[in-house]
């Protein structure tokens, strides 16, 4: 049977990383990691898996390849069990394989939790494998670059301190033509909420900032954006295994909101960022829950609609389908609100199947898309099941309120020749809403 | 429940008694343990040819099996040969008394285990009647 060893992909970061290792070094770091950061949870998962293979059908990689080395349990068997069996004393080449599985063949989407009768969280196990690889310095080059960027600039895309407020002011100016009174309020203390986005927005999707500003302007809400580092809510360090930087980034984010004394943070349409702010970094920082209330755009738009603050000129007529992003559905239960918003905006909604908590992942999340071009095909070919699912809906518009999902889905759409295009909720609302003078 | 953990440990003492005592009723016709007292049988009756068994086991003292009762305890001194077991051991016994099924099991299995001879498993006693 084929294993990960039969499909290794050259990556500069991984190759150089393992070049610096010896079995002894690996063992030392592994043992420290197990003693320091793993406890009963890992031990129970390692011990109780009955290897029934029920989780196979959960994973889009397996469903796309039908190759047994892609099942959730096979990923654990090719990584964590191997390490535990050898008490961490493995060949550097094994770490290369572990890294490729962990960074590029698992999206930490947690779909497999719906399949494993023992409730084993494969995503958690795989993120511990990533943590080990990070500690060993074996990380794919591209994702490591984003982690470096977080470390140096507190944002993912090397956006410099002055470029950020410049970009916001530029968008404000642009919008003045359409909305003469529009402001993107910077550093307004005591505003109702701080709006935060991921760094790719100012870098190359500025029109999303424009649209958000337009929607907030039309809705007449009290909001602000910080002009200082701490504005980026994305967090690739969380996925590279660099918990220290992950926590620094989120601490800056929470503290920025606290400095501005806002009531809450409203986050743009991104899933992984939400996971970091809502559910992950807080734990590393010693908070049971995030110290500032956090709301995802889906929920915020839902509120605006409930309050009657968004009025439409017309509804979107073409049939649409909804993609449920893992990190806000399995990660936050927003499936009903997402549907209510889409039904408010669109005439005709065709559900894909399976959907809601059971939806297939886009295969871009969990940092996989951020591993860059060397691994692009892994995630596209590894998600033909999603292509089939999309195709079966027969519609041409796909609503996906998540950046990673957009990236992944667009790649799948073009590779499999699906005649579809993706939309954010913001795209639709901006297009359909009554625009004030 | 206040019981000795290994009731069968009492039996070696009994066994010594059995072997030295004498006198037995001949029950030529008996082929299996009498089961009339049980309303319903769940297994074939346990094979037991009285005379052949005693001859093979060298049993001459009837009290080895046909014991009496004193103060709620087994009394090996009194000879109850001729009285059916079920007369004392009710099928559904009161608390503290030994019900019939347990009495049979204890009697046979207990002795066979201490003697290291004779059937001790379910299937070696409860055999379908030979045709």
């Amino acid at each position: 049977m084929k294993t990960i060893a039969d499909r290794l992909i050259e990556d500069e970061g991984l190759r150089r990383g393992v070049g610096r290792l010896t079995p002894e070094k690996i063992q030392k770091v592994f043992k420290e990691l197990v003693a320091g950061e793993c406890g009963a949870r890992m031990k129970t998962y390692m011990e109780t898996c009955v290897r029934c293979g029920m989780c196979a059908k959960a994973c889009h990689y397996y469903m796309s390849h039908k190759d047994p080395s892609y099942t959730p349990v096979a990923k654990v068997s090719q990584t964590m069990w191997r390490l535990f069996d050898a008490d961490g004393k493995v060949d550097p080449e094994v770490i290369y394989q572990c890294a490729q599985v962990a960074y590029t063949e698992c999206n930490l989407c947690r779909r497999c939790i719906h399949y494993c009768p023992l409730g084993i969280d494969t995503g958690y196990i795989i993120s511990v494998v990533r943590r080990l690889c990070h500690k060993l310095g074996v990380t794919p080059q591209y994702i490591q670059d984003t982690a470096h960027s977080h470390s140096a600039t507190m944002n993912q895309m090397w956006v410099k301190d002055d470029e950020w407020p410049d970009t916001l002011q530029w968008q404000e100016e642009e919008s003045r033509e359409e909305f003469p009174g529009l402001r993107i309020p910077l550093d307004v203390e005591g505003a109702d909420f701080m709006y935060s986005v991921i760094a790719p927005e100012p870098k190359f999707r500025t029109q999303l900032i424009y649209q958000a500003a337009a929607i907030f302007h039309a809705a007449g809400v009290s909001w602000t954006m910080p002009s200082t580092p701490g504005w980026d809510n994305s967090n690739m360090a969380m996925f590279s295994g660099d918990s220290e930087i992950m926590a620094r980034v989120e601490r800056a984010h929470y503290e920025t909101a606290q400095r501005l004394r806002v009531k809450r943070i409203v986050m743009g349409e991104c899933g992984h960022a939400f996971r970091a702010v809502y559910d992950v970094a807080n734990r590393w920082l010693g908070w049971k829950y995030h110290p500032v209330p956090v709301v995802h755009s889906v929920e915020f738009f839902w509120e605006l609609i409930q309050q009657g603050r968004i009025k439409l000129t017309h509804k979107y007529a073409d049939p649409v389908t909804i993609h449920d992003p893992c990190n806000i559905i399995r990660g936050r239960g927003l499936m009903d609100k997402l549907r209510e918003v889409v039904h408010f905006l669109c005439e005709n909604v065709v559900e894909m199947s399976p959907n809601r908590e059971h939806n297939y992942c886009c295969c871009a999340g969990g940092g996989v898309i951020n591993c860059g071009p060397p691994f692009k095909n892994v995630r596209i070919v590894g998600n033909s099941i999603k292509a089939e699912q999309l195709k079966a809906t027969g519609v041409h518009t796909l609503v996906a309120p998540c950046h990673n999902c957009h990236g992944g889905l667009e790649d799948i759409i073009s590779k499999f020749g699906l005649n579809m295009h993706t939309k954010f909720l913001g795209d639709l609302i901006y297009e359909l809403m009554e625009k004030p003078e | 429940m206040k019981r000795l953990p290994f009731t069968r440990l009492l039996l070696p003492a009994l066994a010594v008694l059995l072997l030295t005592a004498s006198g037995a009723f001949a029950q030529q016709d008996m082929t299996h343990v009498p089961t009339e007292a049980f309303k319903k049988l769940t297994r074939p009756p346990a094979a037991f040819a009285h005379d052949a068994h005693n001859e093979k086991a060298g049993l001459t003292d009837c009290t080895a099996c046909h014991h009496g009762e004193k103060d709620g305890k087994r009394d090996p001194a009194s000879d109850t040969a001729g009285i059916p077991c079920a007369d004392c051991h009710a099928v559904a016994a009161k608390a503290g008394k030994t019900p019939l099924e347990r009495a049979f099991h204890l009697q046979c299995m207990g002795c066979h285990l201490t003697q290291k001879k004779g059937p001790v498993t379910c299937g070696d006693c409860h055999k379908p009647a030979a045709k």
């Binding site: 949870r41 399949y115 | 290291k116």
Partner: protein, 219 residues
């Protein structure tokens, strides 16, 4: 053989039950201690109402997505586990031993029913064996440990059934059965069979996270 049988139903049986019960308590307590010491960031989220709600789905056949998507395993594993507990606990042969030597008695299943349940377990073991050999995703992850536990369970029930049907020398078969059963009991706390002890907690934990933090179902 009498001496071995005597040993097996006497001292070894005590030993096996003691190791099983005390071993299980020890494993559970030490895992709990480890969790409190090292997993505070997870223990904090434990929410019994969510855990119980999810467990109710998972103990219902086809009550969770994983069950629905794996109907064969679901049917077999439910039958297997139910019979695994019911048959030996209400087996006349077992009750008689307790009754004879300790005076403990409780209602038994009719022999024919118990026999059927036992054969179901043996058949389920055969199905698991077949899966391990020929279903690629199961075979890919199978290790020697899996053969061992499957053999322990299979051998215990198979020898039990053979003994009941008086196939082979009955004393030998029964003794073998008792020894296998004891080995299996001893193995529960210390092998993968410990999923019996920890399974409810691993599911319960993830259900707590899903229910109380993520507001999503996990079934």
């Amino acid at each position: 053989m009498h001496a071995l049988y005597d040993l097996a139903v006497g001292p070894l049986a005590w030993l096996a039950f003691a190791v099983f019960i005390l071993g299980s308590i020890y494993r559970l307590m030490s895992m709990r201690a480890l969790a409190l010491k090292k997993d505070a960031a997870f223990v904090a989220y434990i929410s019994w109402p969510h855990a119980i709600r999810s467990l109710l789905h998972w103990v219902t056949p086809f009550g969770a997505l994983g069950w629905r998507e794996n109907p064969g395993v679901t049917i077999v594993t439910f039958l297997f586990h139910i019979c695994l507990f019911v048959a030996p606990l209400f087996l006349m042969g077992h009750i008689v031993l307790f009754d004879t030597f300790h005076g403990w008695s409780w209602p038994a299943l009719p022999d024919g029913v118990a026999d059927t349940l036992s054969i179901v377990v043996v058949a389920a073991c055969a199905y698991f064996l077949w899966r391990r050999l020929s279903v690629p995703e199961v075979r890919f992850v199978t290790r020697s440990h899996d053969w061992l536990v499957l053999a322990l369970v299979g051998a215990t029930f198979l020898t039990g059934v053979l003994a009941y049907h008086r196939i082979g020398d009955n004393l030998f078969m029964t003794t073998l059965h008792v020894l296998c059963g004891e080995a299996m009991l001893v193995a529960i706390p210390f092998t993968r069979l410990s999923h019996m002890l920890f399974g409810f907690f691993s599911r319960g934990y993830i259900a707590s996270e899903f229910g109380s933090v993520r507001f999503a179902k996990d079934w």
